[in-house]
């Protein structure tokens, strides 16, 4: 066999020299999480060991993602191909600053959830596979962020989707099954639409490699089919991201799973939809984005306003948080609608911020439930007297999600508004600001009722906290609950105080998206 092969010139189709060691960082997060997931299934009966397997794995993933982000920022876009087949034949993994930054943020959020879950996921639920599902979810999410092949992106979507189904029904309660039916059916339809669009795109350009598609679509003379595809992709990813007319699955399901599960869902899943929109609309089909810009803008504003007004109308804190997730999605889509460098940089900044803040807020809700035993805005109260530290964390997180300075959300919204004004789309900027006002009212009300008010509804201020049955004392709260909350709050605060590093990364990411030369050059390595 070897003798016959020497007569063929394989250098035209294959990578012949060894892959540089640093480029292995590109597949390391996926390999590590897959291996960690498999190992934790082997240890499924050792429920005390499982969290440590998961935490070790995620710690390694975080280190590898830090290395990858550093590599991408110093050396530009990095590509690695599977099986050494040269693009467009081999499946390429391509990391640009956008993908690497989101992969790192996602692994940090997953780490916080893994630590938090040590205390709040019951032993039998660990045996049903909480940690394997968590690792496979992270595997699917980082795979989506790092892949450079659009069919491969679909496969990662399915990996994260099936893991999320498993987590959604963990606990096997009536409400969970009810929520799971709506969540599962609508998400699968969205993913199937994405697959249909990908099939049609393949029929159009005959390739699945994103860099190749971007190059070929640019050279395409008739734009009609491409515009249709852009619309279909927009619908599919808007459904995944929970944008306005197709987002009713989110508030119907996000309050039903365990709160740590809801935290990882709110942090990661919708952001994968936004990431896919950024990738497809800006890198692959910039013409389609220009054509759809007004529609995306209207959808974005409707999403922001319904999200923040919906949050105002809720009594259940968990449902209030679900509407805050939607409001954030609207802000990121506004960045895509505007589409200039500043606004896209703002959208990337907001995605990163949203991963951290939404995870932190759901963990805060779990903490508040442990302190007060209720999710109702009417019943809850007196948390400030019971836990001043918790009230401080709550205030920071709630102000950060509304986009007030000096926290990370402010800079994201500043970039979005500046970009919208620069592009002459004042109405998008107005939408962002008005929705920010409504969100501030909603979260301010939540903080006042839950922390400031002495007890349940009709309690006068300043009264000692009324004892609430079934709640714990602040001193009984375990370190595994405090640590993730404090770390996430600190990150949000530090990014808010020192935004320059983050801004240069997001600006770099926006540049790579808008001008795909570096991306295409990295994939094809100067071949064309």
């Amino acid at each position: 066999m070897a003798a016959t092969k020497t007569t063929v010139d394989i250098t035209a189709a294959m990578v012949t020299e060894a892959v540089p060691l640093a480029d292995w960082l590109l597949v390391a997060p996926v390999l590590l999480t897959m291996a960690g997931g498999a190992i934790s299934i082997i240890f499924r009966k050792k429920s005390a060991t499982q969290p440590w397997i998961a935490i070790t794995t995620i710690a390694l993933v975080i280190l590898s993602n830090i290395g990858l982000l550093n590599h991408v920022l110093t050396n530009g876009v990095v590509t690695m191909v599977m099986g050494s087949w040269l693009p467009p034949f081999g499946i390429a993994f391509t990391a640009d600053p956008l993908g690497a930054l989101l992969a790192l943020t996602a692994s940090v959020a997953t780490m916080c959830v893994a630590v938090f879950a040590m205390n709040s996921i019951a032993e039998n639920e660990r045996r049903y596979g909480f940690y394997p599902f968590l690792l496979m979810l992270l595997c699917g999410v980082t795979g989506s962020f790092l892949t450079g092949d659009i069919f491969n992106l679909y496969v990662w979507f399915e990996v994260l989707l099936i893991s999320s189904f498993g987590m959604q029904i963990l606990g096997n309660e009536k409400v969970q099954i009810d929520g799971a039916v709506k969540y599962a059916v609508l998400n699968l339809i969205a993913t199937t639409l994405f697959l249909a669009a990908t099939g049609l795109l393949y029929g159009l350009v005959g390739t699945l490699n994103m860099a190749d598609i971007a190059g070929k679509l640019k050279a395409f003379d008739s734009s009609g089919p491409m515009l249709g595809l852009a619309t279909l992709y927009f619908l599919a990813f808007a459904m995944k991201a929970a944008a306005f007319p197709v987002n009713f699955w989110l508030p119907a399901s996000y309050h039903t799973p365990r709160l740590v599960v809801a935290a990882i869902f709110a942090g990661l899943l919708t952001k994968v939809g936004v990431y896919a929109l950024l990738r497809v609309m800006l890198l692959l089909m910039p013409e389609g984005r220009d054509w759809l810009a007004s529609l995306i803008g209207i959808v974005a504003i409707a999403t922001m306003l319904t999200g923040s007004l919906g949050a105002l109308a809720q009594t259940d804190i968990r449902r209030l948080m679900a509407y805050l997730v939607i409001a954030g999605i609207g802000a990121m889509m506004a960045g895509i609608a505007v589409g200039n460098e500043v606004a896209v940089s703002g959208a990337i900044f907001y995605s990163m911020h949203s991963v951290l803040i939404m995870t932190a807020l759901y963990l805060l809700v779990a903490f508040m439930f442990q302190m007060s035993g209720t999710f109702s805005l009417r019943e809850i109260g007196g948390l400030y007297i019971r836990t001043p530290l918790g009230a401080g964390i709550g205030l920071i997180l709630l102000l950060a999600v509304a986009g007030l300075p000096p926290f990370s959300g402010f800079w994201a919204k500043l970039l979005l508004v500046a970009g919208a004004l620069e592009a002459g789309r004042g109405w998008v900027a107005a939408g962002i600001l008005v929705s920010g006002l409504f969100t501030t009212i909603a979260v301010g009300r939540l903080w006042i009722f839950a922390f400031w008010r002495g007890g349940n509804e009709h309690t006068v201020d300043g009264i000692q906290a009324l004892p609430i049955a079934g709640s714990s004392d602040a001193s009984e709260i375990s370190w595994s609950i405090w640590l993730p909350l404090v770390v996430l709050t600190a990150l949000i605060f530090i990014i808010g105080i020192l935004p320059e590093t983050m801004m240069s990364i997001t600006e770099n990411g926006a540049k790579t998206l808008i001008d795909p030369t570096a991306y295409i050059g990295s994939v094809f390595g100067g071949i064309r």
Partner: protein, 125 residues
């Protein structure tokens, strides 16, 4: 050939969307099954249909002798079939469990996760 298949894909999509709009969970699951197959057929058709020429390269040559069928859409369809089949299996179990727990397969009656009372949120202290 492609035209015929496109029409067939269209009919499958129409049927599946009709079933997906139904209130009954079983019909929705049938709609999902048809939707998955409609998309598989769509990918297959989008890769162009070539009859009778398998992509096999004869010995002693490095390129196919004549134009062959495109093997890539078949690989894509195979992946998609496996995924949609496993999802359908999960959905059948989920649908059955939902029927057991909630005692109905009518989506309008599946409102356990919705808030009970439609009262307004607290407006003041």
């Amino acid at each position: 050939m492609e035209t015929l298949f496109s029409v067939l894909v269209g009919i499958l999509f129409a049927g599946s969307i009709y079933l997906l709009l139904s209130r009954k969970l079983v019909r929705i699951l049938l709609g999902i099954a048809i939707l998955g197959n409609a998309v598989n057929l769509l990918i297959f058709t989008a890769g162009r249909l070539t009859r009778d020429v398998p992509p096999i390269i004869p010995l002693q040559s490095y390129l196919p002798v004549e134009a062959t069928a495109n093997p890539l859409p078949q690989a894509l369809v195979l992946t998609a079939i496996v995924i949609s089949f496993s999802f359908l299996a999960f959905f059948l179990v989920l649908g059955y469990r939902a029927y057991q727990e909630l005692g109905t397969d009518d989506l309008l009656d599946m409102r356990v996760a919705e808030p009970k009372e439609h009262s307004e949120p607290p407006l003041g202290y």
